[in-house]
């Protein structure tokens, strides 16, 4: 007990002493000014890229980063006379790790702008931290609806898409062009459900009927029994949301179990995306999907982009590369508007939100109410060209706006 008292006394003494002359966390949290002064000199603008390079979304993270690097390289890593520096941290698609890395980016590297992530769970996890630190954050992939709805923040803007945009855009089109009765299937996670809901909403509103729905777990390896469920008489099509390895297996097994000849398959663009089609062989032939960018999009911006990308990385651009490229372009525009002074997060947000560009995916701008991107969605059909599958844009749904609630 005596010991304890003595220790307590020493403790109080030390705390008093040190608080008088310290430079640790307690001080820096109360006076944030130090970080703001540096932008006058020639120090670079630091962009934090919170992207996975390991874990399930590793390849998406890699492509996003490639897209960003490509754009800034085209600008010689200089915008408005300021050097641009990308600081990449691996989220492992794990929210817990992502938060730790975000703190590193803000507290250690003192980044000016944040971009990323792939996983919606990560975006939601870092949302409060970003908001309270007033860190301008351009979401370049994660598509969870709530980020631009109930979880909206003044400092968070999204240049990629909302899951609603993906699903909803195809609803009316499917009713008109595919049929009146459709079976819905999606991977059983929040994104899958959100896309499926948006599709159902638009499709039933147009007059269509949902024949049934099934949600296999994410990362499922055998779809045979689900395909058995979907194989119903009298339906006009199947709407599917799958991505990555799920998309490869689903589309292949859909073909192998003989559904391809019977029931048309439609879905989101990830079903037949650039990075999965080579693995699907000829199975995706005839699938129609909605997406906001496609390799085959015949615009000047896109053609320049895909050529430059192929030249630098020796592989075809994917939709994530385009997202990364766009995000970089938006950031550069905003920095230009501010003439390189990014010290005030509110001004930076203001500048960013008014950016309007013609990106590889077409004209895009921000919705000032929801902070979500307004963009075209394209209906693409997969066909076979020279023995390989290629997508072709067959329709455009212009300027899709997320309702924000």
């Amino acid at each position: 007990m005596k010991n304890f008292k003595r220790n307590g006394f020493v403790l109080i003494l030390l705390v008093l002493l040190l608080s008088a002359c310290s430079s640790g966390a307690i001080n820096t949290t109360t006076s944030k000014e130090k970080t703001k002064e540096k932008t006058d000199d020639n120090s670079p603008i630091k962009i934090g890229a919170l992207l996975p390079s390991t874990g399930v979304y590793a390849s998406l993270g890699e492509n996003l980063l490639n897209g960003m690097n490509l754009y800034f390289e085209e600008q010689n890593w200089e915008v408005a006379g300021k050097k641009i520096e990308i600081i990449h941290e691996d989220t492992e698609a794990d929210p817990q790790v992502a938060l730790r890395k975000l703190r590193k980016l803000t507290d250690q590297d003192k980044i000016d702008i944040l971009t990323g992530p792939v996983s919606t769970a990560v975006a939601y996890a870092i949302r409060d931290e970003v908001d309270s630190k007033k860190l301008p954050f351009l979401d370049s992939h994660a598509g969870g609806n709530d980020l631009t709805r109930s979880k909206r923040s003044d400092y968070i803007w999204r240049s990629s898409f909302s899951s609603w945009q993906i699903g909803h855009s195809m609803g009316e089109w499917a009713y008109k062009n595919v049929g009146k009765k459709i079976y819905v299937t999606a991977a059983d996670y929040a994104f899958g459900h959100e896309v499926a809901e948006a599709f159902k909403e638009a499709y039933t509103k147009a007059g269509g009927q949902i024949a049934g729905e099934v949600y296999p777990p994410l990362g499922n390896n055998d779809y045979s029994s689900y395909l058995g469920k979907m194989n119903k008489e009298g339906i006009d099509g199947i709407y599917a949301f799958y991505a990555g390895s799920d998309a490869v297996r689903f589309v292949q097994q859909y073909d192998q179990y003989g559904l391809k000849e019977k029931i048309p398959l439609i879905g989101s663009g990830w079903l037949t995306a650039e990075d999965v089609r080579p693995q699907q062989a000829n199975s995706p032939d005839g699938i129609k999907a909605s997406i906001f960018w496609d390799y085959s999009l015949d615009t000047k911006e896109n053609q320049t982009f895909i050529k430059a990308y192929e030249k630098k990385y020796n592989k075809r651009a994917s939709i994530e590369s385009a997202e990364g490229y766009d995000a970089a372009m938006i950031l550069a525009e905003a920095i230009n508007k501010l003439k390189g002074d990014v010290s005030d997060p509110d001004k930076l947000i203001e500048a960013m939100s008014s950016v309007e560009i013609n990106s590889p995916r077409g004209p895009i701008k921000f919705d000032k109410d929801t902070h979500n991107v307004i963009q075209n969605l394209y209906i693409v059909e997969t066909g076979i060209v020279n023995g390989k599958t290629e997508n072709k844009v067959i329709d455009t749904i212009p300027q899709v706006v997320d309702p924000g609630k």
Binding site: L18, G24, A25, P95, R103, Y124, K151
Partner: protein
């Protein structure tokens, strides 16, 4: 004579002073290490103390975290109420899983805990309306401690966690060296014999499981207070695996080992992954080196070094110390 408590107090004081010297970034990392330290210490009660290797401990972390988070959103903003709800929930889960799994031994116990925690994971993952499903539970605001004092600042959170950790380690070190603590060690060493000298080992194993699970829930609750967020990733079996690795690398059956193991993994992962994306390879290599060269973990290395330095010093009082896990854990039954 009694060096332990003094050393502990000094370390505590040092930790109290840390925010005055280090930037907020390091304070946050320390908070995280402390939380994962609590988590690892809780698992160590099972693995190191009672000799039951569990691969489903993340379920309790998740139970505590989700219950605390939901309580914070729905019922109360008081930290003790919400943490209490988290603890209660983790306790109940530990009661159920414990009754099911403590009958099994070795490898089968490991697989049963794994199965139970995966079932819990699936529930969390699919019960979207309550838990937020794959997107996780977010938007948990800072909580009140007493009256108007709110844990709005990361440094306050750090102090709160530090105090909890200190109390916990104090209680635990009392507990581990107590007669009841020695019963647990006895069970790890030789459960059959413990029965034969009159101990109802099933009961003690359940008690151990309950303490361990509830403490794991506490770690989860602290985690939610710290991050304001919890997602199914933290309940998945890989989370159980990584906390098991923290315990093994730190030093099984020691008081400080798991905390040191947690620090080792967090620091390695944070620092290495900033330089190379191949951090898994480096951690993997570290595991292998540990297995071959330091089977008793980091604490084992310290002890060996200490023994070499003070070789001549006679170690006179030797309290019943905690023995590193018997390497021949009965994994095959």
């Amino acid at each position: 004579m009694k060096k332990g408590p003094i050393k502990g107090t000094l370390l505590f004081l040092l930790m109290v002073l840390v925010p005055f010297f280090l930037s907020i970034y390091y304070v946050n990392i320390l908070s995280e290490i402390l939380i994962l330290g609590v988590f690892a210490v809780s698992l160590n009660i099972l693995v190191g103390q009672t000799g039951m290797v569990s691969l489903g401990h993340a379920a309790f972390f998740g139970a505590g975290a989700y219950a605390t988070g939901l309580a914070a959103i729905k019922f109360s903003t008081n930290i003790f109420v919400t943490l209490g709800i988290g603890l209660l929930f983790a306790f109940l889960l530990a009661l159920i899983i414990g009754l099911l799994s403590t009958k099994a031994h070795g490898f089968y116990f490991l697989m049963l805990t794994l199965a139970c925690s995966q079932i819990f994971y699936s529930l969390v993952y699919q019960w979207t309306t309550v838990t937020g499903g794959s997107n996780g539970l977010s938007g948990i605001a800072p909580l009140d401690v007493f009256g108007d004092i709110r844990l709005s600042n990361q440094v306050f959170v750090y102090y709160f966690i530090l105090v909890v950790m200190a109390i916990l380690l104090f209680l635990l070190s009392r507990f581990l060296h107590s007669p009841l603590g020695s019963v647990f060690i006895g069970i790890k060493e030789n459960e059959e014999r413990m029965k034969s000298i009159g101990y109802n080992t099933a009961l003690y194993k359940n008690i151990s499981f309950l303490i361990s699970g509830t403490m794991g829930g506490l770690a989860g609750g602290l985690y939610v207070i710290f991050n304001g967020f919890i997602s199914p990733t933290d309940v998945y079996w890989t989370a159980s695996g990584s906390v098991l690795i923290m315990v093994l690398i730190g030093g099984v059956g020691t008081l400080w080992g798991p905390v040191i193991g947690a620090a080792f993994i967090v620091i390695l992962e944070t620092i290495v992954s900033s330089y190379t994306e191949n951090w898994m390879m480096i951690i993997g290599t570290a595991f292998i080196l540990f297995v071959i060269f330091a089977p008793n973990g980091i604490v084992g290395i310290f002890n060996r070094a200490k023994r070499i330095v003070v070789k001549q010093q006679k170690i006179e009082h030797k309290e019943p110390n905690i023995i590193p896990i018997k390497q021949q854990t009965k994994m095959d039954g």
